[in-house]
Symmetry: C2
Subunit: 344 residues, 2 copies
């Protein structure tokens, strides 16, 4: 029989230990055959993103938990290999979200045709996809960067942070990035064009941060949470915006595992005294989703003009997905992490 | 010599104990005489407000610390008793901010004439003054209450909370108040017209709160901070607004004294997953100050029509100010706390 390889979520993480390779298993099932109105998709690229960690647990975060004994959820770029749908021709490239598997059926719901002339198709999962859209729309809408403003971005070399920070720079702000290690910091300033970068692994991180932001911070775009965010609280200026995009350093489903941090009252008191705005969001919030067209036009133009850069960390083979995914939480990736499931 | 009694701040609070009566002293000085362009003001009412606690310490909060060996700072309502200023006649009533003393000079800077026909002049320190303006403008601008929304207000019977909650009710929201003890709770529902009230002193406070807000909370107007606010975090709905107006239950200048609370990461994670907006503010923020005229017109009309109620807790005599002020932090007051320095 024609085979479809799938990586299933087969158990939920032990809350004492967090996600592990044993939560996943590679299984082979029969390749599905498209019925009337359906297309068969062949996966080219699979997106690995920090938000997936929360989906592994049984609790509800943004969305319902990922099902057990089914392909792990996630965004994909795929080729149409059989089409019984009048809107899609064989050979077309689409953005889908059919998870960790070689093949999937679709009735076209949620498919988005990818412009293969604009950029490599993998960018539909990164700079021109959900992460880029998140970084651009939230920075513009909630951050309101501009000349005279100091914008700080954590996980600055990553899929979301790199777009968020470059957006602020192109809007005229002074932009400082936080990244892990000298190589990522060099990329953030040298390639992405941030004004400065600070290594959160440095023992004197707080002092370096203060030196990089001598006048404080107007916008902090937070992808990490935890001790890094606690270190930034003292340098937020009056009326600063703290944009809560992610908490990659903290597994929210493992209570009590995070290191000791200031209390919620410290954050509320700082919010009061300095009149901060703290804003959690996802890119599907209506006010951000309304900016999708603006995002595609603007970031597409910046890319074409060479004014906005991106970096992908490509891992080969579906079977490599679980280990690569777990590496996200130790910062093992360098750039937007994607799995190349098969060569284009 | 004609005397001017003043209550001076003579020492800063011991951070281990917080503000105490011994930080204040009544002193008598010579009554000042107005020079050219000046008026002599005779204090009628003195406002006592929680924000003054932070001014007693040497750290900077909103504003510089109150000076030692000078009258304690605060809003006042006064009568013009001598005038060398063409804009103010003897006998006129003004809102001023000359602090805890019987008499003061002014060159008219910061004076606001009080409409003596509209309401008792003491209301210029409460429902028609800074607290009312804070409650109305922040609730309308940051809270955006309306039909179908659930609004929760702490210190609901107090100067700010009573206006914030009634504003939300008059805007069509369902409004729940939190207050200390059965009498205040009865006032919040019976007089102020809130839909429900919850006693934060009840041992089963969290359960009562959940029962009063079965569908969760869209807007929490926080005047207290601390454990009450921690108890509310779990019932904030998606896209709720947490408006940080005050922290009367927590002395921000006494680090480590507050009871154990969830960490700042718990608040940030909740903000992310439920896309909360957490907003600190003061009434002088530009976007709120721009609503001053709307506040005076709207709340003035609501008062005149009997649709908005208020309660004052009047203490007699300048010398009573320190003890009455300290009572704010144990909830000893019942309504907007003012000192009647002399009969009108």
């Amino acid at each position: 029989m024609p085979v479809n390889r799938q990586i299933h979520l087969v158990s939920r993480p032990d809350p004492a230990k967090g996600p592990a390779l044993t939560n996943f298993a590679l299984r082979e099932v029969e390749r599905p055959r498209p019925g009337p109105g359906q297309v068969l998709l062949e996966t080219l690229y699979l997106s690995l993103d920090p938000y997936m960690r929360a989906r592994m647990y049984s609790g509800t975060n943004y969305a319902a938990p990922a099902a057990l004994d089914a392909p792990m959820v996630g965004g994909t770029v795929a080729r149409v290999v059989v089409s019984n749908h009048p809107g899609f021709a064989v050979g077309e490239i689409v953005e889908s979200a059919h998870g960790w598997q070689d093949y999937a059926l679709s009735d076209s719901t949620g498919l988005r045709r990818v412009d293969t002339g604009a950029a490599p198709v993998s960018t539909a999962l990164g700079v021109l996809g959900m992460p880029g859209q998140t970084g651009y729309t939230a920075m513009m809408h909630h951050g309101r960067p501009g000349p005279g403003q100091v914008v700080l971005v954590s996980a600055a070399g990553g899929a979301v942070g790199s777009v968020a920070g470059q957006t602020a720079r192109l809007a005229g702000a002074r932009v400082v990035g936080i990244a892990g290690g000298p190589a990522k910091c060099a990329f953030v300033t040298g390639t992405l064009g941030f004004d400065a970068a600070v290594d959160h692994r440095a023992p004197d991180f707080a002092a370096r941060l203060a030196a990089a932001c001598p006048e404080g911070v107007d916008v902090y775009f937070d992808n990490v949470g935890g001790p890094v965010t606690a270190a930034i609280l003292p340098i937020l200026r009056e009326r600063a915006r703290l944009l809560v995009c992610g908490t990659v350093s903290v597994d929210r489903d493992r209570p009590g595992v995070a290191p000791a941090l200031p209390s919620m009252q410290d954050l509320l008191s700082a919010a009061l005294v300095r009149r901060l705005t703290i804003k959690g969001f996802i890119y599907t919030d209506p006010e951000l989703m309304a900016m999708e067209g603006e995002f595609r036009t603007t970031v597409g133009r910046w890319l074409a003009e060479g004014r906005l850069k991106y970096r992908e960390d490509v891992v080969d083979g579906l079977e490599a997905a679980p280990a690569a995914f777990l590496g996200l939480f130790s910062g093992a990736n360098f750039g937007k992490l994607v799995v190349r499931v098969r060569p284009e």
